[in-house]
Amino acid sequence: MSGSEDEPRLLDSGEAALVVEFGSVVDPAISDRVLALDDALGADPPEGLRERVPTYRSLMLHYDPLVLDREALAERVRALVAGAVARAGTPTLWTLPCCYDQPHSEDIAQVAERTGLSHDAVVATHAGATYRVYMYGFAPGFAYLGGLPKTLAVPRRASPRPPHPRNAVVIGGGLAAVATVPMPTGWYVIGATPARLYAPEREESFFISAGDLIRFEPVDCTTFDTLDAREAAGERVARRGEAVP
């Protein structure tokens, strides 16, 4: 399978979830198709459609089969895909401050050792790239990011490390991520952002959408603490800009 314009596969996960599968690999073109369908269904959701969960390569649609017939939903999906829906608008580019120093970067020495890069080179490489938010999953606000430079592609740990601090910036398995809620993890913690991608008490609990772009801007620990305090006071320290095509 590839990201070509062929028909997606419609796969049932029980009688209340339909998976619209556009491919089987991580690929921005496939992700674009997933997100375009997600946008189109979100703009005009059929009654009985409960949740839409975009992932790297598929859109999972949770629905109430006593309200929305599976075939009616499938027809709607096919029609939208055939209409070659495009994503609405330009993705937003977010700049997230990131502190790569101790105590926020517990595993950065291990990454330097495994990649043969210096600490500074790891930071420069990670902060030099632009990442695409492919999906959320695993934990609240855990954002999976594509676009990690290959020189930082270290495999994930064979067994998880102890829980990471909140809002950890992590890499592993050729991907990057922001890990909001402390959990044991197989990823490597190389920094932390004061920006809270997930804050259940905030009116807008999440502000970054799948399809958005992210850059990390290195800050020292003093700046981190200042920004963290401002974020705690209700300010949003992530900066918003339009993506340059």
């Binding site: 796969l11 049932d12 996960s13 029980g14 009688e15 209340a16 979830a17 998976v19 599968e21 089987s24 690999v25 991580v26 409960r50 949740e51 839409r52 969960v53 975009p54 992932t55 790297y56 390569r57 598929s58 859109l59 999972m60 949770h62 089969p65 006593l66 599976r70 999906m135 959320y136 999953g137 695993f138 934990a139 609240p140 606000g141 855990f142 999976y144 809620v181 959990m183 997930y198 259940p200 609990s205 999440f206 799948a210």
Partner: protein, 338 residues
């Protein structure tokens, strides 16, 4: 305000409403009851909305009292041992809990979860629109954690219950865990036909290490046709993933929103409770059904709760609880000496 006070609580007892829906796309698990039908039945019996906040009682057991007023209670389980001031009651019962009296719930020979609903509204603040507790991410319920001795649950709009205890009659909860219905897929193509057959036939043994996140099965490992890693995609409640060791894991209420193992089949919604109630050591197999059959089962489940839950008065006795438990409580009033 009237309150339900937790005097003692075993591990794994949480507040659950119908679930935190709408945020799966941000990695937020719905949580909600492990046995949605039993949870809805308890709420129905208490005169509450089906998806109201209720206490999900684990086999760890629970002891509660009322404070500041009288509380109507519907406690629904299969085979849990319920007592009011030490007097045994049926496993599913509607009663009034006055201040000074003690209601206890203990595990029984079968069943893994029971639901205690209060006539009124357990008044805890919703998070992201729901009171469902997800302990792994610390969301919902009381500070995102399980209940513990000393917790006080305020009850708004409290209504009194049955003057004397009434046995609740809910035959739709008599579900045999030995056969669980599934819809095959979504990654059925990761398994050869003989492996799908082996999966359905089992028999599988429910591992005791299950929790609200997943039910683990022991048995003869399945073989994958083309590897056991997939690029992560969405995970429905009841999805049966098969990791590298070939032993199926059924993802339940507290599952992660996405996952990276092939999913051979999905337990149909109406059989989630049947599976959730299987204690460790239970043997089961699976039966593949069509979407049509699955939807029909869902409709039948909804219809079962359309009318009020039937009930019969329980005649109080001073008999030893063992004797009382041996009586046939199915056909109506027990003939106890008073």
């Amino acid at each position: 305000m009237t309150a339900l006070v937790v005097e003692a609580a075993g591990p794994g007892i949480t507040l659950q409403d119908g679930g935190r829906h709408g945020y799966l796309r941000y990695g937020i698990t719905a949580a909600g009851p492990m046995d949605p039908l039993m949870h809805a039945t308890a709420n129905r019996a208490a005169g509450n909305p089906f998806d109201a906040t209720a206490i999900e009682v684990s086999t760890g057991g629970l002891t509660v009292t009322a404070e500041g007023g009288t509380l109507g209670i519907a406690m629904v389980s299969r085979s849990f041992r319920i007592t009011l001031d030490g007097a045994a009651l049926p496993d599913s019962v509607a009663l009034t809990l006055e201040p000074g009296r003690t209601l206890t719930v203990r595990a029984g020979p079968s069943g893994a979860w029971g639901y205690l609903a209060v006539q009124g509204r357990i008044d805890v603040a919703p998070v992201l629109g729901s009171t469902a507790t997800h302990t792994r991410s610390g969301l919902g319920g009381l500070d995102g954690r399980g209940l513990a001795a000393g917790d006080r649950l305020p009850v708004a709009e409290a209504r009194p219950g049955e003057v004397s205890p009434h046995r609740l009659i809910a035959p739709w909860l008599d579900r045999d865990p030995k056969e669980v219905r599934v819809v095959l897929g979504p990654q059925g193509d990761y398994f050869a036909p003989d492996q799908i057959h082996a999966f359905l036939a089992g028999p599988w043994t429910v591992s005791p290490r299950g929790d609200r996140m997943a039910c683990f099965l022991d048995g003869t490992p399945l073989r994958h046709a083309k590897g056991h890693d997939i690029v992560s995609d969405g995970v429905a409640m009841g999805a049966i993933q098969v990791p590298g060791n070939g032993l199926p894991i059924i993802l339940m209420a507290d599952r992660q929103s996405t996952g990276g193992y092939p999913k051979i089949a999905t337990v149909i919604g109406p059989d989630l409770g049947r599976l959730a109630q299987a204690q460790g050591g239970t043997q089961l197999s699976f039966r593949s059904v069509s979407l049509t059959e699955a939807v029909a089962a869902r409709r039948a489940e909804r219809d079962a709760l359309r009318d009020p839950v039937p009930r019969d008065p329980v005649v109080r006795t001073n008999f030893a609880s063992d004797f009382l438990l041996g009586l046939n409580l199915v056909d109506g009033v027990t003939d106890g000496r008073t």
